[in-house]
Symmetry: D2
Subunit: 152 residues, 4 copies
């Protein structure tokens, strides 16, 4: 899978607990902001689809491994990968680093849902096409023989 969106966040005072490391609900508030930024980057900012079209993408599954603590003041890099696109859901993977050190990772499933009825809905066709385009593998086997090698 290919990382399709990268962004950064500093760990702020208000995100940290008595130990000076991230309070995990604050971590997830940050993560939600990253996913919000990803949707704006795709062209469907949440505040537009929610206000104008009354649908959203609530999280139905979330799994986190907090491998190493992050400290107040750390600058974190969030890398997002689309892992699966369903009729009305999308699987995401997040890898979070500080410099070269891996800090935590997440798998997450979002479900397209009507805001007022709280029921799932199929993705609009253009949203689904966009999400699927982000899953395209690096496809090295389809590069012509002797062509350039992929770079990290």
């Amino acid at each position: 899978m290919t990382v399709c969106f990268t962004t950064e966040r500093m760990l702020h005072f208000g995100d940290c607990d008595i130990s000076g490391t991230a309070y995990y609900p604050a971590y997830l508030n940050i993560l939600n902001g990253v996913v919000e930024e990803f949707w704006a980057h795709l062209g469907w900012p949440w505040h537009e689809i929610i206000w104008k079209e009354r649908w959203g993408t609530p999280t139905v599954h979330l799994s986190c491994d907090f491998s190493k603590p992050s400290f107040f003041g750390d600058k974190l890099t969030f890398q997002l990968t689309v892992t699966k696109v369903g009729k009305s859901s999308v699987g995401l993977k997040h890898a979070i680093h500080c410099g070269d050190e891996h800090r935590w990772s997440v798998t997450q499933v979002l479900a397209a849902s009507w805001l007022d009825k709280h029921t799932s809905m199929p993705w609009p066709a253009d949203v689904k096409a966009k999400l699927e385009s982000l899953m395209a593998p690096d496809a090295p086997e389809r590069r012509p023989v002797g062509g350039p090698q992929p770079q990290a």
Copy 2:
């Protein structure tokens, strides 16, 4: 496994998003308060072990399934089960209901850690013994010979 701790929380105004349902980082802030209450119930309130002994139990793994939305004003019941006790970790399972309806479930791993060094530590012997006592299976040794085997 046996549920060894049950408590209740109302979903408050400040926990809900624009759809009137729980914002998931707020859900996890509530969950963290439930786990804090569980440790006080066991006899090791976090504010005592943190202030006096400088250790805590940060979350190293968390996996959540949000099956059905919870609404502002809902009264939720949290049921906690101890699933595994390691040298310096404990596995928990949470089932959250509103009345008879299942709303979300969590598996979580906490690791005993020194607050200042941010390194793991073995459970104090009395803490470990207490956690293990909560895992007591439903007395399989008392099943008649040749009876059915427990299933996972």
Copy 3:
């Protein structure tokens, strides 16, 4: 003025910052929960007026003095006084103690507002009458000699 509502809150792990004392936005999240509990106590729980009648009581003014720090694990007592009732607003005063020690105080103005139009509305007559009844001074000097003594 008379204190007309008293409740308690413990300062939890998730409310505290790196110094082990209350993070002030978390303090205000707690305060908002206290005001929510006050309205339920009056007979107009926010989740009922919001869901059924589409009005609420957003805060339009807030002034806080944080006199002394509160520490993780402290048990705080919140005392609420109604100081003024207007056509569509109410003034509140909060005094927050830990045991005998004063910790912080708040003056706050709430405005009755339509949830969807975001415009102010006059209090429903029964709500206004209830709020006004809570402003009654203790007026012990006006009690007849030999009359009953006030109780806590």
Copy 4:
């Protein structure tokens, strides 16, 4: 007084309540991040003074007027003014706009404090000098001779 620091924040999904407008404790979490950014801009990032020198600048007074609601997706401009510098305190004023519309305003007092002892401390000399330099009035030397005196 002169605005000495300006920054912007979008109102995110996680900052808003059921009405789609800012939840005021979330507003104050944002404000705290703005003040954190201001201190980094001055040259004393909180994570450096807290980790290395063990002092910080807790809020001892806060007064907010929420004049008009801000909506999910709004882009807010924060303008910060230093209004008073004491031996161990600083007064700040914040004006928050969305485009041309004034949304809310804050007066705030921070007190320099030892992180571990929770007692106030005098500003380090260089910090005090920097804060005082930000209070410089709007160039009085350019007022015509005999012209009106500036008023507080």
